[in-house]
Symmetry: C2
DNA sequence: CGGGCAATCTAGTCACTGTCAAGTTCCTGG
DNA sequence: CCAGGAACTTGACAGTGACTAGATTGCCCG
């Protein structure tokens, strides 16, 4: 099929995105080159620019997509612990998205699609925090959210940068994280 | 003096490092260019390569320096909480180092200076965890370390990526972090 | 059925980058 | 005083992102 490569690629946008995700997961965001992605997709060197305008535009699109996926994942969480587990799982299953999402200097921060997706993900995260009975709306509600987010985010980040392979051995990361939340939040639920 | 720029710069290595740190703090590691650093230092475009060989070599040197500084900071910590506070403080005071330290794809991982500095920092971190009375050496000692590290690292990372400015307002980050550790570790010290 | 139009892609250019190889200047040790 | 090496310069090459003008294609509307 594809006689001898038709003039129109078909779905170049998706192809470039997916190739970019591969490269980022393997060698980090700084290794993505529009020309290289074009080569992989079998199109001319400037074709990707028509879909993303910029290198920054491409990365911004990836980040926005990531926040959208994270938002739906968090939306289905039963409680705060489940949200944390889903956060970590998301980072493991979509490492490329995760990396780009938290590299603000690579993104066009005023991009509409990005900001709305991020806001939605943030809302679902706050909802999960608010759903914890005790910390419903104390003055520390925000701080509890920061604590939970820090724990999950730090764990996910250290995981992706291969810093937990020593201490964790070959245990399942999700299980380890679940244990961690148990250790930390066990008795804090009814603190005051 | 310095007639009209002597042939030898004097301390080009330090000058390039410091310029690189400025750029990284302002625009991230992907914005550093050896040629730009050379221009800032007022030397020819290839001079920096003599001290660092590579772009990767430069970043590796920065990471190693960062781990060394972090190691001394952690070494002076009184207890685990203090170590966490120092970890966060280090990230705030040396954001450029911190970013590069945890971007493995930008570094020469087999560099001797880097690996030894990192090992030393890791040792001091484990020491701080082991110094907690209860979790001296239970089977969960490692997990406690992972929990503490995740919390501090996540907090520091979110701080540097400007994700905590909303929830924290203009409170002092170190104070907030101290509160967090109080919330989480308050009653876990004598768990079993 | 077919003209035209917009989306898509090609091809060429420019300024910039990292890296290499070969020179030049300076300092130091013998 | 003068070899030799370290610090730096100069020049060149391939690869990059961004931009432009132009070619090709599919498709809508008459």
């Amino acid at each position: 099929m594809s006689p001898q490569r038709p003039y129109h690629h078909g779905d170049l946008r998706r192809a470039v995105l997916s190739a970019a995700l591969d490269v980022i997961a393997a060698e980090g965001p700084s290794a993505v080159s529009l020309r290289d992605l074009a080569r992989r997709a079998g199109v001319s060197h400037a074709a990707p620019a028509h879909h993303f305008k910029d290198r920054t535009g491409l990365l911004t699109a990836i980040a926005a997509e990531g926040y959208a996926m994270l938002a739906t994942a968090l939306d289905e969480a039963k409680d705060l612990r489940d949200a944390g587990v889903r956060y970590v799982r998301f980072a493991r299953e979509h490492p490329a998205h995760f990396q780009v999402m938290f590299a603000p200097e690579l993104l066009r921060e005023n991009d509409l699609e990005l900001t709305t997706a991020r806001a939605l993900a943030g809302k679902h995260l706050r909802d999960a925090v608010a759903a914890v009975p005790s910390s419903g709306r104390g003055p520390d509600a925000r701080l509890a959210g920061v604590a939970a987010w820090s724990l999950a985010h730090g764990f996910a980040t250290l995981l992706l940068s291969h810093n937990l392979e020593g201490p964790m051995g070959d245990r399942d990361p999700e299980e380890v994280f679940r244990t961690l939340t148990g250790m930390l939040f066990a008795r804090t639920s009814g603190s005051d």
